[in-house]
C-alpha cells in the first residue's frame, strides 16, 4: 500500500513516515502541497491514501483536498491538524475527507485510522 503524506512540519512528517513504514506501508512525503498534487497527477506511483495537514503555507490542506477531489475521488484522504474547529472539519468532510486525526498526533491512533481507511479501499476494490 502506498501512502502520500503532506505536511509542512518536517518533524511530524518524518515521524509519521517512520511509524507508518514500521507498519509495512510504503510512504512518500512532501512538505509542499503542490508537489503532493503533482505526485498524484503523475501517477508514477499508485497512491492508495493521502494524509494531509490543514494549516500549511501557500496552499491549505482544504484547498489541496478540493484539488485532489478534482483529479480523483477514489483516494481516501485523512486530514491532520491542530485545528479542530467544527466548521473547518465540516468543510473538510463536505469536500470528501475520509477521516480526521488531531495534532499533536497520537501515532497509535493514526495507525488505526490509516488501517481502517485502507481496509475500506480494499473492500471497494473487490
Amino acid at each position: 500500500m502506498n501512502l502520500l503524506i503532506v505536511d509542512d512540519d518536517l518533524i511530524i512528517l518524518e515521524a509519521m513516515k517512520n511509524f507508518l513504514e514500521k507498519e509495512g506501508l510504503e510512504v512518500t512525503t512532501t512538505a509542499d502541497a503542490d508537489e503532493g498534487l503533482k505526485i498524484l497527477q503523475d501517477g508514477n506511483k499508485a497512491i492508495d491514501l493521502v494524509i494531509s495537514d490543514i494549516m500549511m503555507p501557500y496552499k491549505s490542506g482544504i484547498e489541496l483536498l478540493a484539488e485532489i477531489q478534482e483529479i480523483t475521488t477514489e483516494i481516501p484522504i485523512i486530514i491532520v491538524s491542530a485545528l479542530d474547529r467544527r466548521e473547518v472539519l465540516e468543510v473538510a468532510f463536505t469536500l470528501g475527507a475520509e477521516d480526521f486525526v488531531k495534532k499533536p498526533i497520537n501515532m497509535d491512533e493514526l495507525i488505526i485510522r490509516v488501517n481502517k481507511a485502507l481496509m475500506k479501499v480494499a473492500q471497494q476494490n473487490t
Binding site: 518533524i11 518524518e14 499533536p104 501515532m107
Partner: protein
C-alpha cells in the same frame, strides 16, 4: 339542477325485489343521474354511511336487524345530517308522518312507486337537504360575522313579551346563552351612571317612529365596555309599538381610539400653543391659516396687526426669491427639514433694520386636504439667530485658545532650542574649569558659569510655565525628609546671604513630621523662588522661614510655609498682580533686579497643584511675607521605624559593587558633536575604566549593537535618520537575545513626563535629562552596571563576563513572567534550569536516538529562521503572516517542550489571526523568542 350531477343514493331494503324495482324506476328517469348503492340491513347502512357520503338515503323501516321508527332514529343518531326518504308499506303509512317530524325528508309507499314519484322524491330530498345545509351555513356565517363585529342582534315582540337574543348578544353582555333573555338583565349590565339615561332613551324610542342609536357603557366582571344599541321600533296601525329590533355592538376599541385621538389632539394643542418655536399653517399665496403664540412673538406683531395684513406670511421674508425657492422645494419634495431662511420682524413703519432680521430654520411639510389636494403647508420655525451668534463666539474662543496653545508650544520649543546649546556651554565650562587656567581666566569663567546657569534657570522657568499652562505638569508622590529639605535650602543660599550680610533664620513647628509624601523637587522650587526673591529684594536685615502644621488628619498633613523678609516690599496696588505671569512689582524692578517675572506665577501654579494657596502680606518699604500652604500625604504608621532607612535611601550614594577592573563598554548615540564630547569627557572623568563608542544616529547604533558588545547604551532622542525611540524599539524587538536586553538610557532635553513615558514605552530603562547632571547620570549608570557587570566578589561564580550575557549568580526558578521581569531588569537566569523537555520528541522518534538526533538537527536548522520571521512579521504588523508562522512555531515549541511559552505562542497565533489584543503581541513574541533561543542553546549542547 345541473344534469351532469350524479346523485348518490343509498338504498336500504332487505327485500331484493323491492330494491330491484327502485333501481329500475330510477333508471327510467332522464331528469337525473343516480348512483345507487344497495344494502340489506341497518348495520350495513350505518357502516356505508360512515365510509362515504350520500345525497339521499332511501330507507325501508322494517329491516332484518331493525324495525319501525327506531330504524330512523338509529340512523339519525349515527348520521344526523342524512337526507332520508322513507319507503313504507301500506300498513305503516302513518309512521311516515312521525318520521317527517323526526327529520325525514319524505315518505313513499312501496306499493305505489313509479319513476315520476321516485324521481320527484329523490330530487326534492336532495334539494331540500342542500337548502338546509345552505341555511345552516348562512346561520353559521351570521354567527361568525356577529362574533367578528362583536355585534349581537335582538328582537322584542312587545305584545307577546317575547325577547330573542343572538348568541353573540349574550356573549356581549357576559351572560350565558342558557339564561333567559330579558330587558332587566340587559339593564343590569349598564353602568349605573349611564343607566337612567339609557332607560329614558329606550322609552323615547318606544314612543317614536324610526330608528334610534344609543351609546352607553356596560360593566362586565369589573371591565367596562362601550356598546352601541342601534335599532328600530315598529308600530301597528293605531300607533302602538309592536316590535323592536336592533343590534348591540361592542364599540370599545373604536371608542378608545376616539378617546386617544381626542387626547392626542388636546396634547398637540397644548404643544402647539405653548411651543417656544413658531408653528404655522399657510397657503402658498401666503394666507396664514393657523399659528401659535410663538409665531406672533417671533415676527414681533400683535394679533390685530396680523389680521390686518393681506397674505400675511409674505410680509416676513427678507427676500421674496427665497420664499419662492422655499415654496418650490416643499412642493417638489413634499417636506423640508431645517431649511435655512432669513425672516424679518414686522416693521409697519419703514424698512426693517439689520436687528430685525431673524436667522431661521424652517421644517415644513405639505398640508393636504382629505382627498389629497394640496392646500398649503404647515411649518415649524426655529430662531437660530442666538445659536449663530454663539457659534461665532465659540469660534472666536477656539481661535484664542489655539493661539494660546501655539504660544505655549512656541515657548516650550524655543526654550528647548536654547537649552540644547546651553548644555554644551555649561558642560564645556565644567570641563574648562578642570584645565590649567590663569586667575583672570578663572574669573571670566566663573562669570560665564553664573550667567549660563542663570540663563538655564530662566529657560527652565519658561519650560515649567508652559508645561503648567498646557496641563502637562504632574506632581510626584514620594517620601522625603522635610528637615533635610530646609537644611539643603539654607545651604544653597548661605553664601549669597553672607555676601549681602543678611541673616537666615528658620522656625519650625515642633509637630512638623520628619517624612511626608509629596513632590520634593517642586516644593523646593517654590521655596527657592521665594527665598531667592527675598534675598534679591532685601538689602539689609533678615530672612525668616516659618513652617507650621495647620491641620493634620490620619492620612494627610496641611503645612504652612512663610518666607518673611525685611526688603523693599510691594506696593498694595501691585500685590494682586504679582502672581500673574510676566509681572513684577514695577517695570523698574525688572531693570533693577532682573528676572523673568515667571517665578511667582510658577510658584502659584505649583501651590495650586499641591491643593494649597499662596498669598503675600507686604508694606511698601517695610518688607514682605509670602505665605503658602500645601497638603502632603503622611507616611504610613511604621514610617517612624523606617525613618532611618528612608533617610539612608535619600542620602546614600550608590557604590559600584561590580569589578571595576572590567572595562565598562558604553555606546553613546548622539548626533550633536559637541554633546558627544561633553558627555564622553564627563563620563571619562567619573569612570576610570570606560570605553565609549559613538554612533551618530539610531540606525548606526542598531548596527553597532549587532556587531559589538556593550554594557550600556546612552541614547539621544531626536536624531536624523533614526531617532532614539525607534532605535530602542529596533534593538528590543529585532535583535536576538541577549542583545535585545542591553540597558538603554534616554538622554534628552525634553523633560516632560509624556516624554519619559514614551521612552519607557519604547523600552528604555532610565531617563536622564539634559543638561546632564553628572552625579545623577553616574549613580544611574552604577545602579545599572551593578546588575549587569560581573561582581567584585562573585566574579568566580558568575557564568559569563563580557561575552554578551547579562547574567548574575542568582538561580531563578523558570517562571515565564518572572524571567520576563528579570530580563527587563537586565538580568537573566544562569541556565542551570532546563527550559526544554524532549519527552514528546523522543516519543515521536519511537525512542530511536538517531531519529531523535535528526529531529533535533531539524529544529536547530529551521527554528532560527522561524523566529526571525516571527519577529519580522511582528515588526511589520503583518498579522496574517504572523499567525501562520506562530502556528508553525507552536509545533516547534511543542517539540522542544518549552511549557512556559506553549500558551503564549498559541495566544500569539490566535490573536494575530483574529486581530485581537494586538498591542500585547510584541511582548509575547519577545518572550517566545527568548525562550526559544534558550531552548536552542540547550539543544546545541545535547549529546546523544
Amino acid at each position: 339542477m345541473n344534469n351532469s350531477e350524479v346523485i348518490k343514493i343509498l338504498l336500504v331494503e332487505d327485500e331484493w325485489a323491492h330494491a330491484k324495482l327502485v333501481e329500475v324506476f330510477l333508471a327510467g328517469t332522464t331528469q337525473l343521474e343516480v348512483d345507487i348503492t344497495h344494502v340489506l340491513s341497518l348495520k350495513e347502512c350505518l357502516e356505508t354511511l360512515n365510509k362515504g357520503s350520500y345525497d339521499v338515503v332511501l330507507l325501508d323501516l322494517n329491516l332484518g336487524d331493525s324495525k319501525g321508527i327506531n330504524t330512523l332514529e338509529n340512523l339519525f343518531e349515527n348520521s344526523p345530517n342524512a337526507s332520508v326518504v322513507l319507503l313504507t308499506g301500506n300498513d305503516d303509512e302513518r309512521v311516515g308522518i312521525t318520521a317527517i317530524q323526526k327529520g325525514a325528508q319524505d315518505f313513499l309507499n312501496k306499493n305505489h312507486l313509479d319513476t315520476a314519484t321516485l324521481t320527484k322524491a329523490v330530487l326534492y330530498a336532495h334539494q331540500r337537504k342542500k337548502l338546509q345545509t345552505d341555511l345552516a351555513y348562512s346561520n353559521q356565517k351570521l354567527k361568525e360575522a356577529q362574533q367578528l363585529a362583536k355585534l349581537g342582534n335582538y328582537q322584542i315582540d312587545i305584545d307577546n313579551r317575547e325577547i330573542f337574543w343572538s348568541d353573540q348578544l349574550y356573549k356581549l353582555l357576559g351572560l350565558s346563552t342558557t339564561s333567559k333573555a330579558s330587558y332587566r338583565s340587559y339593564l343590569r349590565t349598564i353602568i349605573h351612571t349611564d343607566r337612567s339615561r339609557v332607560i329614558q332613551q329606550i322609552k323615547t324610542a318606544l314612543k317614536n317612529i324610526g330608528e334610534f342609536n344609543i351609546e352607553h357603557k356596560i360593566k362586565i366582571k369589573d371591565k367596562t365596555y362601550y356598546v352601541r344599541n342601534a335599532g328600530k321600533t315598529y308600530f301597528d296601525k293605531i300607533s302602538k309599538s309592536t316590535k323592536m329590533v336592533g343590534t348591540l355592538q361592542d364599540i370599545t376599541e373604536y371608542k378608545e381610539a376616539e378617546n386617544k385621538i381626542e387626547e392626542n389632539r388636546k396634547r398637540y394643542e397644548v404643544i402647539f400653543n405653548d411651543s417656544e418655536e413658531a408653528i404655522y399653517v399657510s397657503t402658498f399665496d401666503g394666507k396664514l391659516k393657523d399659528r401659535n403664540a410663538a409665531f406672533l412673538k417671533l415676527v414681533g406683531c400683535t394679533e390685530e396687526e396680523l389680521i390686518s395684513l393681506e397674505n400675511a406670511v409674505n410680509h416676513f421674508y427678507v427676500n421674496n426669491e427665497d420664499r419662492e425657492t422655499f415654496k418650490r422645494t416643499i412642493k417638489e419634495s413634499g417636506a423640508v427639514k431645517n431649511y435655512p431662511i432669513q425672516l424679518k420682524k414686522y416693521a409697519p413703519h419703514g424698512k426693517a433694520t439689520q436687528d430685525d432680521i431673524i436667522d431661521c430654520e424652517i421644517s415644513a411639510n405639505l398640508w393636504k386636504g382629505p382627498d389629497g389636494q394640496i392646500l398649503g403647508y404647515q411649518g415649524l420655525i426655529r430662531d437660530i439667530t442666538d445659536q449663530r451668534r454663539m457659534e461665532a463666539l465659540q469660534h472666536a474662543a477656539e481661535v484664542a485658545e489655539k493661539a494660546a496653545k501655539i504660544k505655549n508650544e512656541f515657548l516650550a520649543n524655543m526654550s528647548h532650542e536654547i537649552r540644547t546649546p546651553m548644555n554644551v556651554v555649561v558642560g564645556m565650562i565644567e570641563l574648562l574649569e578642570n584645565t590649567q587656567l590663569a586667575e583672570k581666566q578663572k574669573d571670566y569663567l566663573s562669570s560665564m558659569k553664573i550667567s549660563s546657569e542663570n540663563l538655564l534657570v530662566i529657560i527652565n522657568a519658561i519650560l515649567d510655565f508652559s508645561k503648567i499652562e498646557q496641563g502637562k505638569l504632574f506632581l510626584e508622590k514620594a517620601p522625603f525628609d522635610l528637615h533635610k529639605l530646609f537644611e539643603d535650602l539654607f545651604q544653597t543660599f548661605i553664601y549669597k546671604a553672607k555676601q549681602k550680610n543678611i541673616s537666615l533664620f528658620k522656625q519650625l513647628d515642633a509637630n512638623l513630621p520628619n517624612i511626608v509624601i509629596g513632590d520634593v523637587t517642586r516644593l523646593n522650587q517654590i521655596l527657592v523662588n521665594l527665598v531667592s526673591n527675598a534675598l534679591k529684594y532685601t538689602n539689609e536685615g533678615e530672612i525668616n522661614l516659618k513652617v507650621k502644621v495647620l491641620e493634620e488628619s490620619d492620612k494627610t498633613v496641611n503645612i504652612q510655609f512663610a518666607v518673611e523678609d525685611s526688603g523693599i516690599g510691594i506696593p498694595k496696588e501691585k500685590q494682586p498682580e504679582i502672581f500673574e505671569s510676566f509681572t513684577q512689582a514695577s517695570d523698574d524692578t525688572t531693570r533693577l533686579y532682573g528676572g523673568t517675572g515667571l517665578g511667582l506665577a510658577i510658584a502659584k501654579r505649583l501651590v495650586d497643584l499641591m491643593e494649597g494657596e499662596i498669598s503675600v502680606k507686604s508694606e511698601f518699604g517695610k518688607g514682605s511675607t509670602f505665605i503658602f500652604n500645601a497638603i502632603f500625604t503622611k507616611e504610613v504608621a511604621n514610617a517612624q521605624k523606617n525613618d532611618s532607612s528612608i533617610k539612608e535611601k535619600i542620602n546614600t550614594e550608590i557604590i559600584p559593587n561590580f569589578d571595576t577592573n572590567t572595562e565598562i563598554q558604553i555606546l553613546l548615540v548622539e548626533d550633536h558633536e559637541m554633546n558627544q564630547v561633553v558627555v564622553s569627557d564627563l563620563l571619562k572623568r567619573e569612570f576610570e575604566n570606560i570605553k565609549i563608542d559613538l554612533a551618530e544616529n539610531g540606525k548606526i547604533a542598531v548596527d553597532k549593537v549587532k556587531e559589538n558588545f556593550y554594557h550600556l547604551i546612552l541614547m539621544d532622542i531626536n536624531m536624523p535618520v533614526m531617532g532614539g525611540l525607534e532605535a530602542t524599539r529596533a534593538i528590543r524587538q529585532l535583535l536576538p537575545s541577549p542583545k535585545n536586553n542591553i540597558p538603554i538610557f534616554a538622554l534628552t532635553a525634553h523633560a516632560f513626563s509624556t516624554e519619559v513615558q514614551n521612552c519607557k514605552n519604547a523600552g528604555m530603562n532610565e531617563f536622564v535629562s539634559k543638561p546632564i547632571k553628572i552625579k545623577d547620570l553616574k549613580s544611574k549608570i552604577i545602579k545599572t552596571l551593578n546588575q549587569v557587570m560581573p561582581k567584585k566578589t562573585e566574579l568566580s561564580q558568575s557564568v559569563v563576563s563580557s561575552n554578551g550575557e547579562y547574567l548574575n549568580g542568582n538561580t531563578t526558578k523558570t517562571n515565564g513572567r518572572k524571567i520576563m521581569n528579570d530580563m527587563q531588569n537586565g538580568t537573566m537566569q544562569n541556565g542551570h534550569e532546563s527550559v526544554i523537555d524532549l519527552e514528546s520528541l523522543r516519543q515521536l522518534s519511537g525512542n530511536d536516538d538517531s531519529t531523535l538526533k535528526t529531529y533535533i538537527s531539524l529544529l536547530l536548522k529551521n527554528t532560527p529562521d522561524e523566529l526571525k520571521k516571527l519577529e519580522e512579521d511582528t515588526q511589520n504588523k503583518d498579522w496574517e503572516e504572523l499567525s501562520k508562522i506562530a502556528h508553525k512555531l507552536k509545533g516547534t515549541v511543542g517539540y522542544m517542550g518549552i511549557k512556559q511559552i506553549e500558551e503564549t505562542i498559541r495566544t500569539v497565533e490566535n490573536n494575530s489571526a483574529r486581530k485581537l489584543q494586538l498591542e500585547e503581541i510584541p511582548l509575547q513574541v519577545e518572550e517566545v523568542v527568548k525562550y526559544c533561543n534558550l531552548g536552542l542553546k540547550e539543544l546545541e549542547k545535547i549529546k546523544i
